[in-house]
Amino acid sequence: MSRGAAVDYDALFRRLYPSLFRYLHRLTGEADAADDIAQESFVRLLGRDMPEDEARLWLFTVATNLFRDGARTRKRRERLLQVRPWTPAALPRPDEAAERAATVKAVRGALGTLAERDRQMLLMREEGFRYDEIAKVVGVAPGSVGTLLARAARRFVAAWDNGGDDGEQALG
């Protein structure tokens, strides 16, 4: 995706969507929500002409903002809904799906123990962003990224080992 050349959005989508989806799924814990936010981010990218690296960082920034906005709405809605916990006894689920759901919930629980900035830094690093890109998005000095990442990784692993917060936290 170079400046001035016709943008092949389909090819760009195929290259960038999996990484953006993975990042958002880790943030939201919900495949549908991750897909919705990723698609909305791509829709907003249409018509913009920027190099692929820049587009990738732009997409992640927009997606993170959409997630934050959605998280605020979701929290309000969940208060209204008074969603009851899932009751496996009432509706048996296959073991595999239940195990995966529990893992996703536990990962979200452990991520929920981190500050929003640290969580975002950790997840962006996992998607291969450079320190200067991470620093730009979360608003810290590039020189402090290493320290913050090391702390975030330690806290995340420790939270996982301690069973997270023993439940899912509302992120965002």
Binding site: R26, E30, A31, A110, L122, R125, F156, V157
Partner: protein, 261 residues
């Protein structure tokens, strides 16, 4: 370099992010300092565990499905742009014609002015005359076309589907039916279109459905499925059919729940 390396420096070294000017000195220190080398190994292990834990909850990205959906959105967007342009052109044309008409009517002796004097003004006088009180009957009003239903669909999660209706209006009519295909869906018609929808894996929540109709579609292939209405499990999939378990409320007091063909 006698001082031990800071954790942030070790992390940057492991991530290949240490500035080129600092890297040789840091690597030389690491080679000669057992304590820092051990700290680097331990930090690497922490990073690898964090990556493994995160990956443990990952699911495959639905690339093809998302791409189709995005293409459809782009097509709708393009149609919307053309539609907007056409409407703007039409508005401009109408405005030009109207201005031209007004200008022509203002010119004495113009054909437009003559036409107005000969046809429109006499007709207006006739309408105002006492013997012309019987105005022609207005054309019969066309019944409002029913609005398209709103709805949402999901794929079952591990073969299970759960549809939860909360704060449903007592006069709501709920019909559940089995369908071919692999998606479960909820359609709201009439006043039930006031409902808000929310999805989670294998779950659709419908809140504040008004006194209209809700249709719940359950894939025939689903392993299990339930429809809950105002806190009660009202319909459940039993083998190859759906069964009404309990009415949502006392007769006449709760939404009517039935199983459709």
């Amino acid at each position: 370099m006698n001082r031990h390396l800071a954790e942030g420096t070790l992390q940057a070294l492991l991530d290949g992010e240490l500035p080129p000017g600092e890297r040789p000195a840091a690597e030389a220190h690491l080679a000669g300092c057992g304590e820092c080398a051990a700290a680097a190994r331990e930090l690497r292990a922490v990073n690898e565990r964090a990556a493994a834990i995160l990956a443990g909850g990952d699911v495959a990205a639905p690339v093809a499905q998302a791409q189709m959906s995005l293409r459809a959105r782009r097509a709708r967007q393009r149609q919307g742009h053309w539609g907007d342009a056409r409407k703007a052109l039409l508005r401009a044309a109408v405005l030009v014609l109207a201005l031209a008409g007004v200008a022509a009517a203002a010119v004495p002796g113009s054909p437009v002015r003559d036409w107005l004097v000969q046809t429109v003004l006499p007709a207006r006088k006739a309408t105002l005359a006492p013997d012309a009180r019987r105005a022609p009957a207005p054309p019969p009003r066309q019944a409002d076309a029913p609005a398209a239903p709103t709805g949402i669909s999901i794929r079952p999660d591990g073969g299970a589907v759960r549809v939860v209706l909360t704060r449903a209006n007592p006069r709501l009519q709920v019909t559940a039916r089995l369908v071919d295909g692999d998606r479960a869906g909820v359609l709201a018609r009439g006043r039930a279109m006031s409902a808000r929808f929310r999805t989670a894996p294998g779950r659709i929540e419908v809140v504040d459905a008004g006194a209209g109709e809700i249709e719940v579609e359950i894939p025939r292939a689903a392993r299990s499925a339930t429809v809950e209405v105002n806190g009660r499990v009202s319909v459940a999939k039993d083998g190859d059919s759906l069964r009404v378990l309990a009415p949502a409320g006392a007769p006449g007091e709760g939404p009517a729940v039935r199983v459709g063909g």
